[in-house]
Amino acid sequence: MNGWSAFRVGLSRVLRYRQVLVILFAVNLFGALALAALPAWGLAAGLGCRPAIRQAADGVDAWLVIETLASWSTDGTLRQKTMSLGSVPAAGVALLAWLSGAFLNGGVLFTYAEDGRSLSKLGSSPSDKTSPGPQAPPSVDAPEALSSNGPNARRFRWRRFLWGCWHWFGAFLLLGIAQAVASVVLFVLLVGGAIGAVAAVGGWLTWVVVPLLMLVAVLWLALTECTRIVAVIEGTRNVVRAFGGAIRFVLRHIPSVAGLYGPALLLLGLVHALYRWGLMPHLPLEWWALLLVVQQATIAVRLGARLVRLAGGVALVQV
């Protein structure tokens, strides 16, 4: 299976299991709403009745930022207050992302993986011509009730989803920590090295270094996502083994991985560019309701693009 075919399979699975997208979107939205409540209240109490809030809402206003930073640096009480208002959402984002990501990824991937297995038993559907062949491994330790036989095999099943969530929760928690630490170390080493190289050799090296760093970042993203995919497909909770399998898979299928991640990341980039430069600058602050709709649509598309990448990755690995 080539990358483009995987991308199309991924897209068809995301559309078929729309409930997955809805669940993830709901967790994202309500989680963010909970985290936004405290700073939104602080904003209302501090600046809500000051006309200066209009300048703040109208973009990055230099004098307001300067005054805030200056007050922040000289006023200990304000610093403490801001820290508490800002640190709760910051810590909350990290914690929520880690916990919910670790929990939901198992269910998402298991749902897509079971879809592939059911196809291998039922035969390819017309809309899924590149579905995996009969060599697809069985669902290793899933209860019989969750197996992919019968007329409901290709429908979203809560029980199957939740079983996947729970089964890989611990393993993916561990993987999340390891991945975060490794990402920071990798970032510091690579970016530090790149800055040193550019400073030593000259500015022209930026044109070489930046694309290289982007390639490494995409490769790292593919490796971390494939680790979870391999773990689910091979039915293992040994993340080290899964990581090894992911490295072997990615290195052996570089063109296919590139063919999947290329369009998926391009789609993300296009959506972000459209939002940042095509829509946001043209929405006056009074149109906050439209702004909210546009933002939520953007989040849904970004989430969908990520699910396409994951579902396509499952299809690739299952081959």
């Binding site: 809030i53 880690w98 919910s100 009074e286 989430l303």
Partner: protein
């Protein structure tokens, strides 16, 4: 290696060389020399040889001092600035607290001092050796002149503060024995302090520089001649009139780019690795020369030289000398795209041509005058050339003016008087007192008086004190005369005082508005009250009382109120609390909250795949 030429043995040769250079200058002048604008007081003829390997200077100097005061003067006091770098115990190095390297010192030694008739003089070092005094055989009577000769040698430091070398780049400033200024019956000359800059009388300079062939030189004034000796060395002669100092630079790597602006040649001496700065520097220099010239008075010299400095010699960058300034490019092309730091440095340093080189403030005693006036003027040029809100940063919706950056510094450390001797400011108070507070204070004065009146004040001050040594009180006299206002809030509150101010609306009721002054500075201002029917009232408030309440019994309910609605008071520590509405500003609050929500969602998506 070029051996240093000993001044004693080379004196006759030097005189001959000087004479030949003068002769050659009749034929080789590249640009016309401007007519003398002010009678010279302290004039110098210096013949210097640069040893590029040893980084040393060997020189013969002839100083002529004209006593334009009413006092007979019995001695001469010289600055020997390079001695600031000769040990860790000098005033300069003690104050700066770091940077002295015993392997890379700087010093100056005067070998011989004598009257022109050969009468020997004794030069005694004063304090830390950055000053020296020579008693004269007979006092110089008022209206009379005295001429003496000195031979000196100097070691240039590796550059970390204005002067010195970096590889084969040389920025030679504060390098020769230089007279102080006689005023109020004594020599006004201080040891070289870390924060203090320079103070000197106007005069004529003729400087011949001998150095290896292949080196490109730049200097104060104009090159009058250049002689290749055929032995691997060359001599370049510079002539400058109506200036208070002479600095020069040399590097074998300099390239030159020029532009003519209002009849003035702007020469940019840049290094090959900084070729990307050429257009940006010349554009900034053009804007500066053009605006300063039209606002205050024309630049009277024929050439303005802008010197680029290498990355390992950034300490030489961002400095002003008469008709020559140094720029700085450490931030590189990417950084320079993000912020107009390159332009700010060029525009600021060129501003010193007006506020220091022509209006020669005492930079040691009143640093706020030269740095503050220059930086305030730079704010105006940056705004005129690059936009009011975008003069410093202009990246998409992220905008910042140069004034914003100075206000940021000020409001984070506002309780500092502007007036004071340079070395009396502790820590970052010097930056606030000499740079940022003068900028926000003068900007406030401009907005209170009106742009035209302020321009009239500055122009009158410049034209009245060009080629003089005005003080803060001279500026006060001009400002109050031209504006026809008593400006004690500015001078007593901000210049001499450490007053601060924050005006705020504390309460908006249905039919009343309460405003408050926090801080001890009082500046008359306005309060704009908006009613439910969108009608407005503009109240005058003198700010004398700490709190004032305005009532409106027969009018529609008050919707909002704002003190200083036009943001005239740049010294106000917090504009954000200047206004208050009776109800929550719902649309902007929702707009901000939805953005916050989106950013949190994005973070969750990025970090956890949600």
């Amino acid at each position: 290696m070029q051996p240093p030429t000993h001044p004693h043995t080379s004196h006759a040769l030097a005189t001959l060389l000087l004479a030949s250079c003068f002769l050659a200058s009749f034929f080789l002048l590249p640009l016309p020399v401007h007519a003398s604008l002010t009678p010279p007081i302290a004039s110098y003829t210096i013949n210097v040889t640069l040893d590029v390997e040893a980084k040393t200077l060997a020189a013969h100097e002839i100083v002529t001092y004209v006593n334009t005061t009413a006092d007979p003067i019995s001695d001469l006091v010289f600055h020997l600035y390079l001695n600031a770098f000769r040990s860790a115990d000098t005033v300069y190095m003690r104050e700066i607290g770091h940077g002295w390297d015993p392997e890379r010192t700087g010093w100056i030694t005067v070998i011989d001092v004598r009257m022109t008739d050969g009468t020997p003089l004794t030069l005694e070092e004063v304090e830390d050796g950055t000053l020296a005094r020579a008693a004269l055989p007979t006092p110089v009577a008022p209206g009379e002149a005295v001429t003496i000769e000195l031979d000196f040698e100097a070691q240039l430091p590796q550059v970390f503060a204005r002067t010195g070398y970096a590889g084969d780049f040389f920025m030679v400033g504060q390098w020769f024995p230089k007279l102080g200024v006689w005023q109020d019956g004594a020599w006004n000359a201080y040891p070289f302090h870390a924060n203090a800059e320079f103070y000197a009388d106007f005069g004529t300079y003729d400087v011949t520089i001998t150095l290896p062939e292949g080196y490109v030189t730049g200097g104060t004034g104009l090159p009058a001649s250049k002689v290749d000796h055929g032995d691997g060395t060359q001599t370049v002669h510079y002539h400058a009139e109506d200036v208070i100092d002479f600095a020069w630079t040399a590097s074998p790597h300099f390239l030159e780019a020029t532009r003519r602006v209002d009849g003035i040649e702007i020469l940019y001496m840049h290094l090959p690795e900084h070729a990307w700065t050429i257009e940006r520097v010349l554009d900034a220099a053009e804007a500066a020369v053009s605006h300063y010239g039209s606002w205050y008075g024309p630049y009277p010299y024929n050439r303005l030289t802008v010197v680029d400095v290498p990355n390992d010699g950034q300490g030489a960058g961002g400095m002003e000398y008469p008709t020559l300034v140094t720029a700085g490019t450490l931030i590189g092309p990417a950084g320079a795209r993000a912020a107009r730091l390159l332009e700010v440095v060029v525009v600021h340093e060129i501003g010193h041509q007006w506020w220091q080189s022509m209006v020669a403030f005492n930079e040691a005693e009143e640093p706020w005058l030269d740095e503050g006036f220059t930086d305030y003027s730079a704010v105006q040029v940056m705004a005129a050339a690059y936009g009011d809100d975008t003069s410093f940063v202009d990246i998409g919706k992220v905008e910042m003016s140069y004034l914003d950056t100075r206000r940021a510094e000020y409001i984070s450390n506002p309780r500092v008087p502007m007036y004071g001797r340079a070395w009396e400011f502790a820590g970052r108070d010097y930056q606030t007192g000499a740079y940022s507070k003068p900028v926000v204070a003068l900007s406030t004065l401009e907005r209170v008086l009106g742009k035209e009146t302020m321009l009239d004040v500055m122009r009158t001050f410049f034209q009245r004190h060009q080629f003089g040594h005005p003080t803060t009180e001279d500026f006060r006299a001009v400002a109050e005369e031209v504006s026809d206002q008593e400006l004690s809030w500015f001078f007593d509150g901000l210049v001499y005082g450490d007053g601060v101010l924050n005006y705020t609306v504390t309460d908006v009721d249905t039919h009343s508005v309460t405003v408050m002054r926090q801080g001890n500075l009082t500046i008359p201002t306005e309060v704009q009250v908006t009613f439910a029917d969108r009608s407005t009232v503009l109240e005058r408030w003198d700010g004398a009382e700490a709190e004032a309440t305005f009532t409106y019994p027969g009018r529609p309910p008050v919707r909002s109120a704002e003190v200083d609605p036009e943001r005239k008071l740049v010294v106000d520590l917090r504009w954000a609390d200047n206004g208050l509405s009776r109800r929550l500003e719902i649309s902007p609050w929702l707009a901000l909250t939805t953005r916050l929500l989106y950013n949190l969602q994005s973070a969750l998506l990025t970090l956890g795949g949600l």
